[in-house]
Amino acid sequence: MRKKALYTNDPHIQALAQIVGEEAILYRKEDLIAYDCDGFTVHRHLPKAVVFPKHTAEVAAVVKYCHEHDLPFLARGAGTGLSGGAIPLNGEVVISLVRMKRLISVDLENRRAVVEPGFVNLKLTNSVANRGYYYAPDPSSQYCCTIGGNVAENAGGAHCLKYGVTTNHILGLEVVLPNGEMIEIGENGILDPPGYDLLGLLTGSEGTLGIVTKITVRILKSPEAKQTVLAYFDRVNDASQTVSDIISAGIVPAALEMMDQTAIEAVEAAAFPVGHPNDIEALLLIEVDGISAGIDEQIEEILHICRTRNVREVKVAQDEQERAKWWANRKTGFGAMGAISPDYLVQDGVIPRSKLPEVLQQIQQISEKYGLRIANIFHAGDGNLHPLVLFDSEKPGETEKALAAGSECLQACAAVGGSITGEHGVGIEKKEEMRFIFTDEEITAQTNIRDVFNRKNLLNAGKLFPTPGRCVEVKRA
């Protein structure tokens, strides 16, 4: 790789280079383009610069500099977020935390680990797996997303039905506040530190309250036994009913995932096909784990429920290899859309589980209305839907149509008492849709909290909250 001498007249770039070193700053257009968006590609903006601090003190110094010079800034991890939380809307200085990727300590006896924010999610599980432990939150991007990013987005995953999302596994945070001051919350990962629950507040704040530089997480003992069931249904309604029945039967599956026909078409056309039939309306991927002695009983009950709901075929994974194959097929589902469509827009609505058939029908109607295919991949057990609106951005007007269709899907979720996002975050993408579920007062209540931390609003501005005084209808016009 070429060594580049710092060649710029911009005093801010020079000052930032002083802090992090010349090899740890990008500021030329060719280098910045790669940072103009994250996993959400509809909006693109070039950052002013990208810096790569190596430790907390450098993060604090960069933040302090930006704060003093009124430069907008934001933090970025692997940039896999799906709502645009890491897009430099205002030409921010991007603080990339990927070089802060150490696993600082592991304490198995007390079931915790301390990591830097750039540490990759799956690597944590890999680091403790030989002793039979794991880190529970498993977003589909866990192969490459960072735990810092997971904290910012309060990332979920397929297994949060039983084990909860990121916030349920965070014990402590070291945070650089937007003025450059460093604080530590939940020192030593001790539960319930006296005071308001800032851990809970910061987790999922989408990088608008502070920059996390060290994270204490809970690690769990791997379950003794694990069984995975794959069930094919001719009718999507039967699959939905099966989900409800399983939950009502008092079973708490570790994961309960659903894919519809279009989604199945995509995963089968992509890199990790399983050989699902192409003429079923839905499949369920159900995983139960726990004490080995009780597992067979639960599996029998699940199989029984599937059969009473007219399942076409249902099978239990015979070995880890088969299980891994099913999961790889499911976990790469979003990316797989590339195989059947040039572009896709993923939505992230949540509904009460019992409303599943009703909402799926509405999504079908939205699809017909806009003449765009919508694939559905979702965490059915949580009621967390991922409608994937398929479109071609090269066709004039289709991007706008896709955005409108996606927004309508969220409206359908909100209308049954649901939420506009279960795990992807609001970011840029859904900030106007916040009005579907919150009143102006409720949004102000939240921005008031932001103002306590982020007084100048230099940190990741323009995300998460709707533009004041602008209503959703205007956006649609």
Binding site: V165, P194, L198, A293, F438, E441, N448, L464
Partner: protein, 438 residues
Amino acid sequence: MHTAQVVEELNALFPHMHKEEQEAHPLGNGGAVALFPQTEDEIRNVVTYAREKKKKLAIIGGGTKRGFGGLVERTDLLLSLANYRGIVEHAVADMVITVKAGTNFQQLQDYLAEYRQKIALDPFLPLSATIGGVIAANDSGPKRLGYGAARDSVIGLRLIYPDGTVIRTGGKVVKNVAGYDMNKLFIGSMGTLGILSEVTVKLRPLPKYESLVLLAFPTGDTDTIRSFAVQFLDSMMEPVCLELLNPSLAEQLTGKRVYTLVIGFEDVKSAVHYQEAFVQRMQPPHTTMTILPPQEAQKFWQTFYEISPNGAMPPTDRAVEAAVKIGVVNLDVISVLRESELLQAFNVDIRAHGGLGHGLCRVYIKGAAESVVSSIEQLQAIAKQRKGYAVVTHLPLSFRQTIDVWGGKPSYFFLLEGIKAKIDPQRMFNDQRFVGGI
């Protein structure tokens, strides 16, 4: 303004609302006049009245935590939510329930049991506590290991802000990242930011079977306890609690004055028995093991949850009672319990328990006033030495005014102050009830 005048004003404004004039209470946190609204509108109207008249409000549910925090004996008004109760919505298939904050906790669990469901929280004094109080004080018991705390169960709240607006946080769905996770801000905020109106929690199925394994360590050798705990926690067993009782608490609950580990299993029957057998196989020498089947286990818990001093009960004798919650790194619980034994030198009764899987201990102290205060100070020192904290969760007002029951302020106190100032600039709600005098 005299109390009589206030009552007159209130009668004019809220003719149908129940009101009571209040005497001073040894635990403090009272008000000159207690109000018992029955609807959310009534609560809002009281708040509006208070704001306009620049009056302060103390908020109370079942009153079990009246001795927890607070430096004021009697403020202007005591807003009781005891008559604001009931189920707003129970989506049985979705396993989600929304209830009014004043709903009694045990009654709620009994209702849910008919549906084979439960709230996965095990707070103390469930017979008297309200769901709102449990959440505002972030109370949790030994089963936190298996089920988590309020922050893991609460999915939505409805609150009345000091400016009279109704604010909803979260929602009715089990997974939600829309906006800040504002629920967290109010859980454990001791009513200093808003009045809880409705609480939405996700439910869990009632376990199909349960049992308790009591493992008694007569030698009192804490190293043996530790190595057993380490080995057991490293196994793939899934206990819902792994709570260590100090000898005097064990005597009260099991009749044997020895360190006792309470290991709870809740699962299908075969899995519970399998785990009991597992414990049996790894049982250390010189220990005794007793298995309590479901009914006895439930009876054990009923007694257990009532061991904590109850702020809603009149004091029974002259002895001063205190309760302290200590947070340390999980296995340090053993040391905290061992060291708290030494406090008996102050001639106080010490009962203590702590979870080896979650690091939270509770120490109950009973004795002469001075000795209780010294014991608390000792406990704060013990916690500090282990980089943890000790918060006094029950103590008569007069002593709270001399000891910092919160054990000091965190380094980021300015943020807590900032949040309070944004939401409640007039310090209308539960003034001085929380950390650092918030």
